[in-house]
């Protein structure tokens, strides 16, 4: 009797290959394949209906898709920059605190400890035009007597979402930049003082270059995070009003699961992935460069 004899290396790798195929490879191939079909969740047999590049053409010419794309880039740019500036400020202030710094560091992490869904609900309440905290406060202080439609007006809704996003994630920057501040050697800062730097110049010429790698790490992490933003928006505005806060993944989610057009959703998903990849690659390049400048090697 002759048994099938596989090469030893293959036998040893087989468990890994099977698991990876099941959880990564097959879904990936399947989703890629389905993006070339008119696959609808409600009609499973439509997965065999090959439409070629139709879905991609449709996405690329779809104004709604590009509006969501642009909004995601806007959210990414505004939120990341705000978070970086605020995180930098908080980190610097915390690093100057001599008593209770440990407590402050722990408190800095609090926003990260909540599920984004919960944060979404919380801010949905805070910005509610009738019973919300913000409007109540504004009205009680006599600043306004109208109910400001925070989540209903298109621009205000985007602002509210950015506010919630910044509230949850500034601490990512805060913590990483604080770590960077701790890692800065004392000597160059003192040399800068002797060399005639004011506090601001020391920061600009010595502290900041040392912090850049940490800032770029935070940027890379957060750009991935924001590029896939879904939960907070879904809860707070559900992409509304009238798609004014529709982001890439709320659009894709709606198309795939609500409209059940999974083939088209997958096609948009593959285009969107490039956005995340682009930002990640960009920030990692920056990170490598800033580390090289500090002579830290690759």
């Amino acid at each position: 009797m002759k048994r099938l004899k596989l090469p030893q290396w293959l036998v040893l790798l087989l468990p890994a290959i099977i698991i990876l195929s099941a959880v990564v490879l097959i879904p990936l191939v399947l989703s890629l394949y389905s993006s070339f079909t008119s696959y609808r969740l409600t009609r499973p047999d439509s997965i065999f209906n090959w439409v070629g590049l139709f879905n991609y053409e449709k996405a690329i010419t779809d104004a709604k898709f590009w509006a969501a794309f642009g909004r995601t880039v806007l959210l990414l740019t505004v939120a990341l920059n705000l978070e970086m500036l605020l995180g930098l400020g908080i980190a610097i202030m915390v690093s100057k605190v001599t008593r209770g710094q440990r407590l402050l560091r722990t408190m800095m992490m609090f926003p990260m400890m909540f599920s984004p869904i919960l944060v979404g609900f919380q801010f949905k309440f805070i910005f509610n035009d009738n019973v919300g905290l913000v409007n109540n406060a504004l009205q009680s202080l006599g600043i306004t007597d109208t109910a400001i439609p925070w989540l209903v007006d298109g621009n205000l809704a985007m602002f509210s979402i950015i506010f919630a996003e910044v509230w949850t994630s500034t601490s990512v920057f805060g913590i990483l930049i604080l770590a960077g501040l701790y890692a800065i050697p004392r000597d160059p800062l003192e040399a800068a003082k002797v060399d005639g730097c004011t506090a601001l110049q020391s920061f600009r010429y010595v502290t900041l270059p040392f912090l850049m790698p940490f800032i770029y790490i935070a940027m890379a992490i957060r750009s991935l995070d924001v590029a896939r933003a879904y939960d907070i928006v879904q809860i707070m505005t559900n992409g509304g009003p009238a798609r004014r806060t529709e982001l890439l993944w709320t659009l894709i989610g709606r198309t795939g699961y609500v409209d059940a057009r999974m083939g088209y959703a997958n096609a948009m998903g593959y285009i969107s992935i490039f956005l995340a990849i682009f930002f990640t690659v960009y920030f990692f390049k920056k990170l490598t460069k800033s580390r090289q400048e500090l002579g830290m090697g690759m």
């Binding site: 160059p188 003082k193 060399d195 005639g196 730097c197 004011t198 270059p209």
Partner: protein, 361 residues
């Protein structure tokens, strides 16, 4: 160039006082070395002069100006740090020119000053490298160049050579001395290495526990140490110290060995004293250079030898205390050999056994 004066300068960290009202006058163009064991307050003192530590009491004057409340940048000083403290993200050229850039000098001025400094320290071929691509000695030279470019009134060096290997340290020592001769500027230099202090200084300031123990030229502190601390801290090998009692106008050690009182020292009958003699002044008969008028002889058993080529260090025991002696034109000595040693009393020292202070008349 400028004089530096410290007037009752105190440094406190909370209730802990680490520098106790020290006074020091440094002349224009003088090379002063602060030396002492770690924790003696020498670096703290330097950092107070630099403006990197707040002054808790007293005054620091640079060039006739009280600088207590001036930030470092307004004190007209340069500092060279132990860890070089270069800016890692700048090239050597940028490192050197940074202070002038901050002071908004014209690019032409900066280039001129940088090239000049690079020339003095032979850094010209390295100007476009970053500190990460330099060796320790090169980094040290960049740190010195950065100090030179500022053309300050006072140079401050904080243990600049302690991160270098022995050979490089000797080399850089010579370069620093040449630099001082060339620039003629006032230098305050901190080190824990007494050899650096001896070789570099116009005047040495020996510190211990936040006090100044003695100030003097290298030869003064070597030949006339004011107490046993200075006696053992300056000079290598350290001075031998032997405890004894004054009896019948002589020094008697525990085992009954007696030596005459060295000339120039006063004693009280029955006083407990410490007798100090350097290895250079206690040598085996026949292997010494007898120069003094006042000589004494003792017999000792050799325990251990350290041949150094031109001389051999002999470790022997006198009155229960280990004594280091020197043998010129050495011959092989075996362990346990009993030899007669000459002591040159003119170069010996007497200290009060209790206070450690010198008994010099």
């Amino acid at each position: 160039m400028a004089q530096v004066h410290l007037r009752n300068v105190v440094k406190k960290y909370g209730p802990l006082e680490v520098v106790h009202a020290i006074n020091l006058d440094i002349a224009d163009g003088e090379f002063v070395v602060l030396v002492g064991p770690s924790g003696c307050g020498k670096s703290t003192t330097l950092r107070m002069v630099a403006g990197l530590e707040a002054i808790s009491g007293g005054d620091v004057q640079i060039g006739g100006r009280v600088v207590n409340d001036l930030p470092p940048r307004d004190r007209n000083i340069s500092m060279v740090f132990q860890n070089y403290a270069l800016y890692p993200h700048m090239t050597v050229r940028e490192n050197l020119g940074f202070s002038l850039h901050i002071a908004k000098h014209s690019q032409a001025d900066i280039d001129k000053a940088v090239n000049e400094a690079a020339d003095i320290l032979s850094l010209t071929p390295l100007l476009d490298r970053k500190p990460g691509a330099l060796s320790g000695g090169q980094r040290q030279r960049v740190a010195m160049g950065r100090a030179i470019v500022r053309d300050p009134e006072v140079f401050l060096f904080d243990e600049p050579l302690s991160n270098l290997d022995a050979k490089l340290r000797t080399q850089m020592r010579v370069e620093i001395k040449k630099l001082h001769q060339k620039l003629g500027s006032t230098i305050i230099y901190v080190t824990h290495d007494q050899i650096e202090a001896m070789t570099l200084a116009d005047r040495i300031v020996i510190m211990r526990d936040g006090h100044i123990e003695q100030v003097g030229t290298p030869l003064e502190v070597f030949e006339n140490p004011i107490n046993t601390f200075v006696a053992t801290f300056i000079g290598s090998p350290p001075m031998n110290l032997l405890d004894g009692v004054v009896k019948d106008g002589q020094i008697e050690f525990a085992d009954g060995t007696r030596l005459p009182v060295p000339p120039g020292y006063f004693t009280d009958e029955g006083q407990a004293i410490t007798f100090g003699v350097r290895a250079d002044n206690i040598m085996p008969v026949g292997h010494a250079l007898p120069r003094g008028e006042h000589m004494a002889e003792v017999e000792m058993t050799v325990d251990l030898t350290e041949p150094l080529g031109t001389e051999t260090l002999l470790f022997a025991v006198l009155a229960g205390t280990e004594v280091q002696a020197k043998m010129l034109n050495p011959r092989p000595v075996h362990r346990g050999e009993r030899m007669t040693f000459q002591i040159m009393l003119d170069k010996c020292h007497l200290f009060d056994a209790e206070t450690g202070d010198t008994q010099k008349k």
